[in-house]
Symmetry: C2
């Protein structure tokens, strides 16, 4: 392992450029002896002489000529590292790996991604869609930078910030459109269709009906909201979906959508990230962007 220093390379480069110890030292803002010593040191370390010390002139040796080119390469690379650092701290740049739960992703992401792209054109966005526990795990493993999930998460190592709150809507078959609005309790007596286990939305729906979460009650659990709505449309029962999903999911299904009243079931959606994440500062800014893009519901 060779033990030259960048400082020596800088001094040497200046010396090569000025061809004069005094001038080079001045350019480096040090005294001439300091430069002399460093050059000498560098020559000793390399075991080869870099300059020919003639009287009245400083001339590079053949090796010196080769060395100064290498030195310039190295110094340039070091500068570039600095540039890179500056770029990475000024703007949010590079990769942002964001996880989203399936009951939010299809409805929120299009708007979020386009908003992020506008604000940070150089940001490369990776999306991961899966259930909350997996997102939390991957966040912890450093495979994700942030996740959009239902709050609270209550992990000490994670920071969380609320984004918005969304209401759950009742989805009934079109024929039931005029029936009276069931209460949370009467809902329990109806055939309530749910997502499969693992989805937090399943638990939130059950909780609204004061039912315990747990193993499936019937073999009717769906793997997506879209399927749920189709099942309702086929007359298999009723379900709840987040308000944000309504426009997308009821476009091609003849179902009736109703808003609950008093109490209105809701959940808070928020963003979480590792407290130790170096992006922490910028993730707050990203949360702002997500928040405002979520508000502008089309």
């Amino acid at each position: 392992m060779i033990n030259i220093t960048l400082k020596q390379l800088r001094y040497f480069e200046a010396l090569a450029r000025h061809g004069h110890f005094g001038k080079a030292a001045e350019a480096c803002a040090i005294s001439q002896p300091a430069l002399s010593m460093q050059i000498k040191e560098m020559e000793e370390t390399l075991g080869a002489s870099l300059i020919e010390r003639g009287p009245r002139q400083v001339r590079l040796t053949h090796f010196g000529e080769v060395a100064v080119e290498r030195a310039r390469d190295i110094l340039r690379a070091a500068e570039e590292l600095g540039d890179l650092a500056r770029a990475s701290r000024d703007r949010l740049v590079g990769r942002l790996r964001i996880g989203v739960i399936p009951t939010i992703a299809p409805y929120l992401l299009p708007r979020v991604i386009s908003a992020l792209t506008v604000h940070h054109p150089e940001l490369e966005i990776h999306v991961r869609e899966t259930v909350t526990p997996k997102l939390i795990q991957e966040l912890g493993e450093g495979k994700l930078d942030t996740a959009i999930v239902a709050l609270p998460v209550s992990e000490a190592s994670l920071a969380e910030t609320p984004l918005f709150s969304e209401t759950f809507m009742l989805v009934r078959s079109a024929s039931e459109a005029s029936a009276p609005l069931p209460s949370a309790d009467t809902l329990r007596e109806m055939r309530l269709l749910l997502l499969e286990e693992g989805h937090c939305f399943r638990d939130q729906a059950l909780s609204f009906c004061n039912l315990p979460s747990g193993p499936p009650r019937e073999m009717l659990d769906a793997s997506s909201l879209s399927t749920l709505v189709q099942m309702v449309s086929a007359g298999m029962g009723v379900t709840l979906i987040p308000e944000m999903a309504v426009p997308v999911e009821t476009r091609s299904a003849s179902v009736s959508i109703s808003r609950f009243e008093n109490p209105e079931p809701t959940r808070t959606v928020g963003m979480v990230w590792r407290k130790s994440s170096p992006l922490a500062g910028q993730l707050n800014e990203i949360a702002d962007i997500v928040r405002s893009s979520a508000e502008s519901r089309p």
Copy 2:
């Protein structure tokens, strides 16, 4: 100008490789706090965090990942500079610019070049053929590494080492082959053909005849030994040429070659270089090669 150090890059690279401050510090043969401090220092200098300090784990930030690649590039380049230095000091490598006077070059160089090529295959040999004063000047200007000239040169800034001594031969027209050998003094009375001004060989020949060097006596000065011999062959006079030139120059000319006796005119040919030249050590070795290749006269 960014102020990171190669040391920091080394430490950071080790940290990235081991993913552990303690291990990395051990690998760098320093204490763990020293490494911690240098990493911290580097992050401050760059103004961007390189690693995410989670409990129980050290993970590179996105910028850290980019940075470690750059760091490896830089470190590799520095190592290469060391390799280059080693190569340049072990073997004589690169360019050797050698100047030779015209009365030696054509006869000596073929052998010298092939001998040098055998000993130092990676040596790139540049040859300059001109008269001694120009060679000395170019040596002083650093345009040549060494020169082969007639000694002495007597320049305080130049080192000189003798290579060999060569005799001057008398060249007469073939018809004069049986005439008695002229003495140095009788030579003065004959029509002595000489090289043009500037060639040291001209002065050496004049000096042998005890004639003052100076402006041309007649308008018959030749620009090469080859021309001189042709002129002799044409019956225009007599001349002297170095012994080494005989085989080459008399091949296609019908002239008579005679050796002087008591005193035999000679000159010493040697190699000179700047005392301050970094090649000084190796030039002695090269002188040896030249010397032995000159002895093996074919």
